[in-house]
């Protein structure tokens, strides 16, 4: 890697390909000099200007709009220029070509605009993560969540929690370091009460059925079942009906095939797994093992079983007992007869996978499972496993502190708060002792 902030970086900010308008973004010390490279004399900061860009022979490249931002009032904190040109591959290539051969300019590395913004204090890490998610957002819900995070949905409550932990820890440290001073008598009760409130807030935030992460990463739905039950048929049926397939990755390294699609506005990663059966084949055994892992970490398992075989319900029940995840049972091949009677029970379907309306039926079931997530009126606070781990660790420490006796060793209570503070600090920046001392000296009259 050879990053240098001395360089002015540029990149196409809109998706490649033909479009009505494309935006090229340029950031760095020479960004506002760019119009001159195209034979345009224009002072661009804080204006939107329509100009004609020309190549080095004076031939007009395109009719564009320039948007200029002078540092530090820009997205990256540096001078920034946006060229809104026509979305023609040739025009874009020509403009980028001119920039690339100009000294001091280079194409941006992945994420470099964001990194510069972060370095220049334009956003905190959680906001930067929100921005990255916004760029990658595939669905409306994802976009809504990402923009909420960018505008501080995460950093606001987390900032408040951090402030609370710092304050509580400062009070505890005051009880230790200034034990011979006259501290308020109710300090301990205050710490206990506020800790309980903070724990409740963290618990609420954590108790969100991982909705934020599901939206961000997609709901993992795994199709499982014995061989030849119709798993792949189901997969194709669901995938084929949905125009919103974003990508499908062939399982080259593992025997799991994954398709991404959108159901009820929620991205779903639909995975087809190797069928269960006793096997002596090592490779196939490995595939089955992987399928097991997939199943146990899934948000939802669709168990497909041949409904025309007598005793299928018992087999299915037996299999489901092994699952560590919620499941729906789909009795397939209903066109071939049998399929048991107790279909009205929750979680059982009969399905003729040769009929396209079967897909509708299953989707409706999936929808009813997903709908509660979609209707959540509050945007979730936690959208990443990294955040969840930190909050959970902080909560565990705070809860542990509540089990310790104040009559005994309060250094151990403080130790729990210190660990809680450092866990939250991993998201929000660490809590320095000077910050604690500020709290202490501004609240208590300390010193002789």
């Amino acid at each position: 890697m050879s990053f240098s902030n001395a360089d002015t970086i540029f990149a196409l900010a809109t998706p490649p390909g033909v479009s009505a308008i494309a935006v090229i973004r340029i950031s760095g010390v020479s960004a506002l000099r760019v119009p001159h490279l195209f034979g345009v004399e224009a002072s661009v900061p804080r204006t939107a200007k329509r100009v004609f860009l020309k190549d080095d022979r004076g031939i007009i490249l395109d009719d564009v709009m320039l948007l200029g931002f002078a540092a530090p009032a820009s997205a990256t904190g540096e001078d920034v220029l946006e060229i809104h040109c026509h979305g023609s591959v040739a025009v874009i290539e020509d403009i980028l070509g001119v920039l690339a051969k100009t000294e001091g300019f280079r194409p941006a590395e992945a994420g470099e605009f964001t990194r510069r913004a972060l370095d220049n204090g334009k956003m905190d890490i959680t906001a930067a993560e929100g921005l990255a998610d916004l760029i990658e957002a595939e669905t409306t819900l994802q976009r809504r969540q990402a923009s909420a995070q960018m505008t501080g949905q995460l950093s606001r409550p987390v900032g408040f929690w951090r402030e609370e932990i710092a304050r509580l820890l400062a009070h505890l440290e005051a009880l230790i370091d200034f034990a011979d001073e006259e501290l308020p008598e109710a300090l301990r009760q205050e710490i206990e009460a506020d800790t309980a409130k903070l724990c409740a807030a963290l618990e609420t935030a954590l108790d969100d059925q991982r909705f934020g992460e599901i939206i961000r990463n997609g709901l993992s739905v795994v199709i499982a079942g014995p061989v030849n039950a119709g798993k792949s048929t189901l997969m194709n049926l669901l995938a084929g009906r949905n125009a919103a397939i974003v990508s499908d990755t062939e399982g080259t390294t593992r025997d799991v095939i994954e398709v991404r699609l959108t159901l009820s506005g929620i991205p779903v990663r639909l995975a087809d797994t190797a069928g269960f059966r006793e096997t002596a084949d090592n490779i196939e055994a490995e595939g089955i093992l992987r399928a097991q892992t997939e199943i146990n970490t899934a948000d939802l398992v669709l168990l497909v079983i041949d409904g025309s075989q007598p005793g299928w319900a018992e087999t299915a029940d037996k299999m489901c007992q092994e699952f560590g995840s919620p499941y729906l049972i789909i009795a397939s091949k209903s066109d071939k007869g049998l399929v048991a009677a107790d279909l009205d029970e929750d979680g059982y379907f009969s399905a003729d996978l040769t009929q396209s309306k079967t897909a509708q039926k299953i989707e409706a079931a999936l929808h009813s499972y997903l709908a509660p997530l979609n209707q959540a009126n509050q945007t979730p606070i936690i959208t990443r496993a990294r955040h969840r781990d930190a909050f959970a660790a902080a909560l565990v420490r705070l809860q542990h502190s509540q089990t310790l006796s104040w009559e005994g060793d309060i250094a151990l209570i403080a130790e729990d708060y210190r660990r809680a503070a450092s866990a939250l600090g991993r998201i929000t920046g660490h809590i320095d002792v000077e910050e604690l001392l500020d709290h202490i000296f501004s609240r208590f009259c300390i010193g002789k």
Binding site: G121, I176, A179, D409, R418, L437, C445, G447, K448
Partner: protein, 636 residues
């Protein structure tokens, strides 16, 4: 006339005496140069040693065979263990001192020290050659040579006393300051700043109405500071407690504009944790009363130090306000309180050995580095003295000097804080400054440090023998504690808490449980009775904290990895990619020497540290001999 030494120490306060004694213990021919020989070991302010965080420092000084612990054990007239009920990690021994006994004890210890000569004189100049110190010149023209000089000027460097609107140049009350040296240091281009501190009036104890006051006695069991002290033999006294009242506050509010601090006369920053009484009343107006401890300054000295009312108000106001306080209505004032401003050198100009980066061989310790407190000064003196002696001995083993880190000692925490963050206000130790507080305890200072001291040679023969014996006893005890596991039935039969997991437990496992003490285990394991009683507390604490300490070890390892990644001295900061201008400013201003230090700079973002690491990795893979960074304890 001229003389030659290995190490010259300037100043006979708490930093100077430790520095001189340490250098001499290390075998360096040492001179202690001080303005007044009879004032060596003087306590300028509050006559007490130890306290929270500070008591730990004294134990650490003692573990490295320093003077302070031994001296206070011979001079302490009220021993108290602070935070007795708050857990072993945060307990701090403290003792009120008899000022004269303390001074005598320090002077006796120095007199019995080989390799040490004491010279009376005021130092006026430093001699240098090619960016290396070569010696000192006294104001009366004597030239004394040495390749290492330790400067411990306390509040004497450009000292200025404020009393009301009066201003008097002085180092302590009635003692002249070092003005010529102050000018010389400013001339060296060192970053010099001003700090201030204050002291209360001194009272005549015979005129205090003690009968009306609440008295605070010494502890029943007197715990010495030094591990060499068998028992405390000094008689113990009680301190009185009284309070300010609304009348006191009224007088102060009416005259606050006359205080040197509030009239804008003082430019130096004072400590927030040691406010003057006018500060307290101004900032906490809703508090109607403040506590005052009346601390006798000696057994046969009637002077009393009223702890809690330091002030720079004019004399008549001081008299009036003291007369409003219960028990002090008719009290005679022996010396008025004052504020003192003095020069300090921004300690970011120092390496962690306390040597100036810009002038080889010149070491600074104590208040000159922006700290406050005897213990903080003494601890720095010790480190500076050891390193000054290593500096003039090129064959010494510790080529990079003797550096303790944040997981070794409070001393390490303090030195790292100073050289990394500077001293925006006078620096005092608190236990909250120590990340690894459960490990850095007053009770285990010798286990943490004495072997390190032996390695570099700063431990004398007496302590060396004493420590070897203790170490043997400790390891024998540890062996006993971790062997002979017993089942739950045996444990339950002895009436001890028995977790219902059916597993076998060693004595150490049981000691980890709340409320279990070593003596309770004798019934099951009679051989434990052979463990010497003085070791009990410490072993119990080790077992109780074992789980926490294990977890902390991972953090310590990460910190040490980051501290091991050196930042080259002449790093081109502008060449570091992905760094904001704020972060570049911080790096330029603080000049961290390691990634660990960089990460501890206030305001340094994790992202900036990662950018710095990435840059170091880049230049190290370019093959310039830089160690390859292993990790940073950050993740984005």
């Amino acid at each position: 006339m001229s003389q030659k030494f290995d190490v010259i120490v300037i100043g006979g306060g708490h930093a100077g005496t430790e520095a001189a004694a340490a250098a001499a213990r290390m075998g360096a021919a040492t001179a202690l140069v001080t303005i007044a020989v009879d004032k060596i070991g003087e306590m300028s302010c509050n006559p007490a040693i130890g306290g929270l965080g500070k008591g730990q420092l004294v134990r650490e000084i003692d573990a490295l065979d320093g003077l302070m612990g031994q001296a206070i054990d011979k001079a302490g007239i009220q021993f108290r263990m602070l935070n007795k009920s708050r857990g072993p990690a945060v307990q701090g021994p403290r003792a009120q001192a008899d000022r004269k006994l303390y001074r005598n004890a320090v002077q006796e210890l120095l007199a019995s020290q080989d390799n040490l000569q004491i010279i009376e004189g005021a130092v006026g100049d430093l001699s240098t050659e090619n960016g290396q110190i070569t010696g000192i010149i006294t104001e009366d023209g004597r030239h004394i040579y040495a390749p290492s000089v330790v400067l411990t000027t306390g509040t004497f460097l450009g000292g200025l006393i404020h009393l009301g609107t009066e201003r008097t140049p002085a180092g302590r009350f009635g003692e002249r300051p070092s003005l010529q040296l102050a000018k010389r240091l400013r001339g060296l281009g060192l970053p010099v700043g001003r700090l201030k501190t204050g002291t209360p009036a001194r009272l005549n104890g015979r005129t205090i109405d003690w009968d009306r006051l609440v008295m605070q006695p010494a502890d029943d069991i007197l715990v010495p500071f030094s591990s060499l002290t068998q028992r405390i033999e000094v008689p113990q006294i009680s301190c009185g407690i009284t309070r300010t009242n609304e009348k006191t506050h009224q007088i102060i509010s009416d005259s606050i504009h006359l205080s040197a601090v509030y009239s804008g006369q003082i430019e130096g920053q004072g400590p927030r944790y040691c406010p003057s009484i006018e500060d307290k009343i101004h900032r906490f107006a809703d508090k109607s009363s403040h506590q005052i401890f009346l601390e006798p300054e000696g057994l046969d000295d009637s002077t009393v130090y009223p702890n809690g009312i330091s002030t720079s108000l004019p004399r008549d106001v001081q008299s009036a306000l003291i007369a409003t306080i219960e028990g002090l209505e008719k009290t005679e004032i022996l010396q008025f309180g004052y504020a003192i401003e003095y020069d300090f050198i921004d300690p970011r100009a120092l390496a962690p050995t306390l040597e100036l980066k810009a002038l080889k061989g010149l070491f600074l310790a104590g208040q000159i580095n922006g700290t406050t407190g005897y213990e903080e000064a003494a601890a720095q003196g010790l480190i500076a003295g050891i390193n000054a002696s290593l500096h003039c001995n090129p064959s010494a083993k510790a080529a990079d000097g003797f550096i303790l880190d944040r997981a070794d000692a409070y001393i390490g925490v303090m030195v790292d804080d100073l050289v990394t963050k500077g001293a925006p206000e006078p620096y005092r130790m608190f236990t909250s400054r120590a990340e690894y507080r459960l490990h850095l305890r007053a009770d285990n200072a010798d286990q943490r440090l004495t072997d390190k001291g032996l390695e570099i040679g700063c431990i004398g023969p007496v302590r060396s023998r004493h420590w070897t014996d203790k170490k043997t006893a400790l390891s024998a005890a540890r062996r006993l504690l971790s062997s002979q596991p017993k089942g739950p039935n045996v444990v339950a039969a002895a009436g001890l808490p028995t977790p219902r997991d059916g597993s076998m437990r060693t004595p150490a496992d049981l000691l980890a449980l709340e409320g279990v003490g070593l003596t309770q285990l004798f019934e099951i394991w009679p051989e434990l009775a052979t463990i010497p009683e003085p070791l009990h507390n410490q072993l119990e604490t080790d077992c109780r904290y074992a789980g926490y300490l294990e977890r902390q070890q991972a953090d310590i390892d990460a910190m040490r990895r980051d501290d091991a990644v050196k930042i080259p001295a002449h790093l081109n900061i502008s060449a570091i990619g992905g760094l904001s201008s704020e972060s570049k400013d911080l790096l330029a201003r603080y000049q961290p020497q390691t990634i660990g230090q960089a990460s501890r700079i206030p305001g340094m973002t994790p992202a900036a540290v990662v950018a710095l690491l990435r840059h170091l990795r880049k230049i190290s893979s370019a093959g310039d001999g830089q160690p390859r960074p292993i990790s940073a304890s950050f993740s984005l």
